[in-house]
C-alpha cells in the first residue's frame, strides 16, 4: 500500500461560542503543516487547543473556515477509508461483538468476504482473540481502545490519524502497542499523525513533533527527532530532548494564557 502526503495550508476553524449567540470562537488559526508520504508526526499541545478538531478536518468529517487541506495534492472533500481515524473515545458499536466491530471497516467497504482472514490477524495483533465474541460493554477501557485501533488498521489506510489511541493503557501494554504501531508503520509506510499527551511516546515514535499553543491553536514549534530507530528511552539524547520539549510546552502554556488574560 502506498502512503499519501498531506498538506495543510493556513487552516483555520472556529465554532459558535456556547455562551454567547452569534459569536464565534476561533479554535485553530493559520495551521500550515506538510507531511511527507510515510512520515510519522506527533501533535502535542495543551488540552482544548484543537488537536481533535484538526484530525476531524483531515479525516473530512468537518470543513475548515479558511485555508485548504490536500492529500496527494487533492483537496479533501469528505471522509474516506483511505484516511483512518482512531477517535479519542473508542466509540465501539455496542451492538456488535469485538470481532464484528473489527470487521466493520471491511463490511462497510463490501470486501468482508475476500478479506475475512485478516480479521484474525488484527485480533491477534491487539491481543483480543479470547474476546472475539464479547460485546464492548464487557471490555475494559484499554481493551476497547485496542479494538478501536484494530478497527481502523484493518482498512490499511494511507493516512492514519490517531487521537490518543493508547491513552487508557497501562505502561506495559502501552509500550508494547507503541512497538506494534511502529512495526505496522514501518511495514506499510503509512503516513501517521499521532495526537498524544505523552512526551515520551511522541519522542519514541515520531519523525517530527509539532507543538501547538493554547487555544486558538497555532503552531508553536516543529521539532525534528533525529534519533536512530529503534530508540532507547533511557539514552541521554532522548532525555535531553524530553526536557527541552517539556520546557517549550510550559512556555507555550504560559505565553498564551498571558495573551488571553
Amino acid at each position: 500500500m502506498v502512503a499519501s502526503s498531506l498538506q495543510l495550508r493556513d487552516v483555520g476553524k472556529s465554532f459558535p461560542a456556547p455562551d454567547q449567540p452569534l459569536t464565534y470562537r476561533t479554535v485553530l488559526e493559520t495551521i500550515s503543516i506538510s507531511l511527507e508520504a510515510g512520515e510519522l508526526v506527533s501533535l502535542v499541545g495543551p488540552s482544548g487547543c484543537g488537536k481533535s478538531t484538526l484530525l476531524r478536518l483531515i479525516a473530512g468529517l468537518d470543513f475548515p473556515d479558511s485555508g485548504e487541506l490536500l492529500v496527494d495534492e487533492e483537496p479533501i472533500s469528505g471522509p474516506s477509508a483511505e484516511r483512518g481515524l482512531v477517535f479519542q473515545d473508542p466509540n465501539l458499536f455496542p451492538w456488535l461483538t469485538v470481532r464484528r466491530n473489527i470487521e466493520a471497516g471491511l463490511a462497510a467497504r463490501g470486501v468482508l468476504q475476500q478479506k475475512r482472514s485478516e480479521v484474525k490477524e488484527f485480533m491477534r495483533l491487539v491481543g483480543l482473540e479470547a474476546f472475539a465474541d464479547a460485546y464492548p460493554h464487557h471490555l475494559s477501557g484499554g481493551m476497547a481502545q485496542r479494538v478501536a485501533l484494530a478497527r481502523a488498521l484493518i482498512n490499511h489506510p494511507k493516512v492514519l490519524l490517531l487521537d490518543e489511541p493508547l491513552g487508557a493503557l497501562d505502561a506495559f501494554t502501552r509500550m508494547r502497542m507503541q512497538d506494534e504501531v511502529l512495526r505496522l508503520w514501518q511495514n506499510r509506510r503509512t503516513t501517521m499523525l499521532l495526537v498524544t499527551h505523552d512526551i515520551d511516546e511522541a519522542i519514541y515514535m515520531s519523525d517530527r513533533i509539532i507543538i501547538l499553543t493554547q487555544r486558538p491553536g497555532t503552531i508553536e514549534q516543529i521539532i525534528p527527532i533525529a534519533l536512530d530507530r529503534p530508540r532507547d528511552r533511557s539514552s541521554s539524547d532522548f532525555l535531553s530532548l524530553r526536557s527541552e520539549i517539556l520546557e517549550l510546552l510550559h512556555f507555550a502554556g504560559n505565553r498564551s494564557s498571558q495573551v488571553t488574560a
Binding site: 473530512g60 471522509p79 481515524l85 471497516g105 467497504r109 460493554h137 481502523a152
Partner: protein
C-alpha cells in the same frame, strides 16, 4: 517468610494481569441455594399442594349447592392441579431446573389458587353476588368446555386479524419512522402529519372505516395497522435521529456509504427505542382489535364477548376474557423473547 510469599504472589498477579484480561461474568451462583434455604424449601414445598387441596375442599363443599354437571369439570381441573403439584414437589429433588422454576413460581401459584378459593366462596359458597352476572369459577370452566368449538374458532379469527393488522402496521411504521428519522425533508413534511393524525385513537376512525371499506375485516385490519403505525413510527424516528453522531462519524471514516449508515448503524442503534414502539403498538393493537370486533367484525373473541353478553351468558363472557388474557399475554411474552434475543448486547448495560 509469610510476608515474602504474599509479596511474590501479589507481584505475580500484577504481572500476570497485564496480558490476561477477564470478563465481568454474570454470577451464576446467584440462583444456587444455601443450606438454610434448602431446609426451608422442604416445608415450603408443601404450600402449593396444600392450597390446592384447600381449594378442592372448598369447591366440593360449595358445589353441594349446584347441579353436579355444572361443577364436575372444575373438580377435575382442581384435582389434576393438586396431583400435578404433588408430583412436581416429589420430582424436583432430582430435577434442578424444575426446582428453580418452582421456587420462582411458588408464591404466585399459592396466591393465585387462594384467589380462586375466595372467588368460589363469595359466589357459589355464600351467593354474595347476584347471578347471572357473577358465576363461580366452576361455571366459567364449564362454559369454556361446553363452548370450546366456538371459542377456538373465535381465538383463531382474532389471531389472524391481529397479526395481519399488527405486522402491516409495524412494516409501515418502520419505513416511515426510518425515513422521518433519517432525512430532513421527510422529517419536515412527515412530522406535522404525524403530530396531527397520530394522536387520534384508531377507534375514532371506525365510522369512517365502515363507510369507505368494502369489508369489515379489511377495515378492522387497517385500523389495527393504523393504531400500531403511530407509536412505531414515532419511536423509530426518535431512535434514528438520536443515533450518536460519533458512531456515524466512525463508520464514515471506515468508508461506509449511506446504505451502511442507515441499515448497519442508525437502525441497530435505534433498536432499543424501536422495541418500545413495538410494545406500545402491541397494546394499541389489542385494544383496537377488541373494539373493532365488538362493533363491526362478526367473528373473534371481541365479538364473542358481546354476543355472549347479549344472551346474558356471563359464564361465557368470563371464559372468553380468560382466553383473551392468555392469548394476549402469550403474544406479549413472545415479543419480550424476541427483544431479549435482539438486544442481548444491552445485557449488563441497563437493568435487564
Amino acid at each position: 517468610m509469610l510476608q515474602g510469599q504474599k509479596i511474590s504472589r501479589q507481584s505475580q498477579v500484577t504481572v500476570g494481569s497485564v496480558p490476561s484480561d477477564h470478563f465481568r461474568a454474570d454470577s451464576a451462583e446467584r440462583y444456587a441455594l444455601s443450606a438454610q434455604e434448602r431446609k426451608h424449601s422442604t416445608s415450603a414445598l408443601l404450600t402449593v399442594p396444600v392450597t390446592a387441596a384447600l381449594a378442592l375442599g372448598i369447591h366440593l363443599f360449595a358445589a353441594k349447592n349446584e347441579p353436579p354437571n355444572e361443577s364436575r369439570t372444575y373438580t377435575i381441573v382442581l384435582g389434576s392441579f393438586f396431583a400435578g403439584a404433588i408430583v412436581a414437589a416429589v420430582m424436583q429433588r432430582w430435577w434442578p431446573a424444575l426446582q428453580t422454576r418452582m421456587r420462582r413460581f411458588r408464591p404466585l401459584f399459592t396466591v393465585g389458587v387462594l384467589l380462586l378459593c375466595v372467588w368460589e366462596i363469595i359466589t357459589s359458597g355464600f351467593r354474595m353476588l347476584p347471578l347471572p352476572y357473577f358465576p363461580s369459577p366452576a361455571g366459567v370452566v364449564q362454559s369454556m368446555i361446553n363452548d370450546r368449538g366456538l371459542l377456538f374458532d373465535s381465538t383463531w379469527h382474532s389471531l389472524v386479524l391481529l397479526l395481519s393488522g399488527y405486522l402491516l402496521g409495524v412494516a409501515a411504521g418502520l419505513v416511515t419512522g426510518v425515513c422521518i428519522g433519517w432525512s430532513s425533508p421527510a422529517r419536515y413534511w412527515g412530522m406535522p402529519l404525524l403530530k396531527v393524525v397520530g394522536p387520534i385513537p384508531a377507534t375514532a376512525w371506525i365510522p369512517l372505516a365502515m363507510v369507505i371499506s368494502p369489508s369489515a375485516l379489511i377495515s378492522a385490519a387497517a385500523l389495527i395497522a393504523l393504531a400500531v403505525w403511530f407509536p412505531v413510527t414515532m419511536l423509530t424516528a426518535s431512535g434514528i435521529s438520536n443515533t450518536r453522531a460519533s458512531y456515524l462519524d466512525v463508520a464514515r471514516t471506515l468508508g461506509a456509504n449511506a446504505r451502511y449508515l442507515v441499515f448497519r448503524i442508525a437502525i441497530p442503534a435505534a433498536l432499543p427505542s424501536i422495541f418500545v414502539g413495538l410494545f406500545m403498538g402491541l397494546g394499541a393493537s389489542f385494544l383496537t382489535l377488541v373494539v373493532a370486533e365488538s362493533v363491526g367484525v362478526k367473528s373473534g373473541l371481541g365479538w364473542y364477548v358481546s354476543w355472549a353478553q347479549g344472551w346474558a351468558e356471563y359464564g361465557k363472557v368470563y371464559a372468553a376474557l380468560v382466553i383473551m388474557a392468555a392469548f394476549f399475554s402469550t403474544i406479549m411474552t413472545l415479543l419480550f423473547r424476541l427483544r431479549d434475543r435482539v438486544l442481548v448486547w444491552q445485557k449488563g448495560m441497563i437493568r435487564w
